[in-house]
Symmetry: C2
Subunit: 492 residues, 2 copies
């Protein structure tokens, strides 16, 4: 059927261009010669422009319309829906705004890097304002009530403030109580137990061992090193990174499990469809549900260490000989308020996100002036955590996201945790208690379950639809909070 072939060729090409971009970005993070930043930026922005032009062309509209009229199977209907959504979304935003944002993002990012170490917020704020102003303009291109929803939808399709507010409100309430009750007081001592020397070669061996256990396919992917761990690529070329600290194995290990979770999602998509609109991962929230499932629900669980502690100690040249399983388990599970999001534990992490969510909503809805951001952040932080950041570098300046126009992105991190709680609850009903599976080393069984339920489904459904189908329940923060309670009851 000619219309269909044309559609697949067209979107296959768009996918190819995006994949080229992804590999070039990976290369830039991992191995590119330093001097080539500017040249590489040019190449990447040319590819982005080509993809954008193609996707917003009259040809695209024609190809999508023709395909829509012939779509029959579930996949075809989903491809139609997703293609139409992509097209409309791109069409709504003037190309000039997108170009402006990219340009301003590069400038503001470099100012952020320079001003952050000394918390020089006075220099930073005017540049941040420019990015926020452009992002406000983009947000207004949507046609819903709430401009912020248009941004949110970019990362978590169909998600809205209306739906997110009550979820996060309940989560916040639950977590604030939780933190009061379960915060550890002996953190220094606990962390000492896991801070032993393990050579980088051994740490790498350990990471590769677990990636193999999980079912990561090294014939279709790579593991490398980068300053900030990340995963990119898809299907047969999935690349993840981690980082090594010689005296802190958990950095590399949990980095690898986290990125491994992302990688399994990408390696587990539907082979026939992954290049087409509904064939990609469902949302950033769902992606994050997979990475956090592997990092936290599995990797920081009691069963995991009952199963693997001896193995890890052996692979570490017996670095943990003097550390009991209990001490190790407590060392990697400390709950306590802290300033830096990326170093936060699995509990307080979500409060860091909700704080950002509340602030960025106000920023976009123009209820908050950029000038007030530094102190609003600090006040809010005190309200959430009972402590105040001593510097702005440990406050509103800590993340790169806003500098580069990533507003509406943060919520997906906490959504990932909520989703992972819902998925865990269902997996335990349908398979068996996850503690048993993990303790018996049946990680691949878990992987197969996730693949069948989540990965292979790609974007056949909206994130919410998919979750409701998988879990047979409404979206809720309860399973995640239950998971935390059950775990930390035994961990105080």
């Amino acid at each position: 059927m000619k219309e269909k072939e044309r559609f697949y060729k067209f979107f296959g090409e768009i996918h190819d261009i995006l994949e080229a971009q992804q590999i070039l970005e990976w290369d830039q993070q991992v191995i590119m010669p330093k001097g080539s930043s500017e040249q590489r930026a040019g190449v990447i922005s040319t590819l982005a422009e080509i993809a954008h032009k193609k996707l917003t062309s009259e040809e695209a509209e024609e190809i999508i319309s023709n395909f829509e009229s012939k779509a029959e199977t579930n996949w075809e209907k989903a491809h139609s829906r997703e293609a139409r959504k992509m097209y409309q979304k791109q069409k709504k935003i003037p190309s000039s705004l997108i170009a402006e944002r990219s340009k301003q993002a590069i400038i503001t990012q470099s100012i952020w890097k320079k001003t952050k170490p000394a918390s020089d917020y006075k220099t930073f704020l005017p540049y941040l304002k420019k990015v926020v102003d452009i992002t406000r303009e983009i947000a207004k291109c949507g046609d819903g009530d709430q401009p912020y929803d248009f941004l949110l939808d970019e990362y978590e399709p169909f998600m809205t403030i209306k739906e997110l507010d009550p979820l996060f409100e309940n989560l916040k309430k639950g977590l604030k109580e939780f933190v009061k009750k379960y915060s550890s007081t002996d953190i220094e001592q606990r962390k000492k137990a896991v801070s032993k020397f393990v050579s980088i070669q051994n740490q790498e061996k350990i990471c590769r061992f677990f990636l193999n256990e999980m079912g990561f396919d090294f014939e279709r992917g790579r593991m490398d090193i980068s300053a900030h761990p990340f995963t990119t690529g898809t299907m047969d070329d999935v690349r993840m990174t981690t980082r090594y600290k010689e005296y802190y194995l958990p950095a590399a290990l949990f980095g690898a499990l986290h990125e491994g979770g992302h990688s399994l999602y990408e390696q587990g998509l539907d082979r026939e469809n992954f290049k087409f609109p509904a064939g990609q991962s469902c949302s950033l929230g769902l992606h994050e549900s997979q990475s956090r499932f592997w990092e936290n629900i599995i990797g920081r669980s009691r069963g995991f260490w009952e199963r693997y502690y001896e193995e890890v100690n052996n692979l570490s040249d017996k670095a943990f000989n003097e550390v009991s399983l209990d001490e190790f388990y407590k060392g990697i599970n400390c709950v306590a308020p802290s300033f830096i999001r990326v170093e936060a534990d699995e509990v307080t992490y979500n409060l860091h996100i909700i704080l950002r969510y509340e602030i960025e909503k106000e920023l976009i809805n123009e209820n908050l002036n950029i000038e007030d951001l530094p102190l609003v952040w600090n006040d809010k932080f005190f309200d959430f955590f009972g402590i105040k950041p001593p510097t702005f570098a440990e406050g509103f300046m800590q993340d790169i996201h806003w500098s580069i126009g990533l507003i509406g992105y943060f919520p997906t991190y906490a959504l990932g945790n909520l989703y992972s709680g819902m998925i865990k609850e269902t997996l335990e009903k349908e398979l068996s208690p996850i503690y048993e599976l993990i303790k018996n080393g049946k990680l691949k069984e878990i992987r197969n379950y996730l693949k069948e339920k989540i990965h292979l489904k790609a974007r056949l459904y909206s994130p919410k639809e998919l979750l409701v189908r998988v879990t047979s329940r409404d979206m809720s923060e309860v399973p995640f909070l239950n998971y935390l309670k059950n775990k930390y009851n035994f961990l105080i």
Copy 2:
């Protein structure tokens, strides 16, 4: 001036797409996960198609025409000429033929890999025929007398059979006599002297040492490992590879010097113009003149080893303590007939090329049937070298080039040697005897000379024009033959 900006943006984008392709191809050779070949092939062919479409569009014609009418400076005129040439050349070949060639190349290449080890020419030939047939069709798209010229021009712009025949005829005559006179009889013994164990770490150190000596900028390039050494990328992101044999340092070292020569060319182009049509390297022949200059004229010279032998021995953990400078020098300079091109010495190498040139001319002009190729090759080989390949794997099946449609490419290897001879002769007149420069470690002085005379000139002129300007003499094989005679007179 609007027309000019439009031209630079347009061709800058085409350059960006090609650069993306180059990095993806490098990635494929060096670090890509094995399982991703098919996926990567799709990405690369999509990019190639986009570049081709762009270059042959009506927009391209309009942009070039507008620019032509405004071109004033030398660079602008050269950009006009090169853009027009690219456009016309691409327009002459139907897209379908190019697509067919790419497709058939992939198939025939894989058959070649499978059939070569057992010299299974019967299975291989029908597939090779398909590629040759398509290449014949492409050759006919030109409008000169000789279809082969159209292919040749792809790799060595403006070069023709008419010009190449007498050059290669004289070179062949000279070399055949030379080989008779200068062939070494004690090759085994000579090679033994240089076949000492040097750890791969040390070999890598040695390669990096020399690349630094030459002026390779590691901030704007990389060195890695691949099965067959190659160089790709340009300006601020130039990537070269070499390969290591633990008991044969010369493989890595001369690989690095050779690819280092290519790299200096790419790093040395004109920064303002390298993305535009006349800003790229002048021709494959000139590229090869640079790599062979560094590999042979410099790297295999007496002065080089007088200067660096002790250093290399030290960096090799004294592996060559028992080998005299003379023995080492003789070990890396043995002349003798042999079957495999890529392992041939700097003298006989050119005969391997001329043999391929004579055969591929006949193949394209349809004076030679594919079926007769295996035996024609062997007969010709005997005529050139006085020996006959014992297997077809060591005969006509040894190279990948024809399988993937690279016909008209081989001559550039020998042209590179001829050009390097001409350039050396001039450099000695203008600077000082190269022996003195090398012996005194003034490699960067040589590099600067080449940069000024060749690299920065890019495609301002045709290869021939550039060489005539640099050397103030006509194209000739004489300087190269003189160089060989002067060298090997002392080496028998």
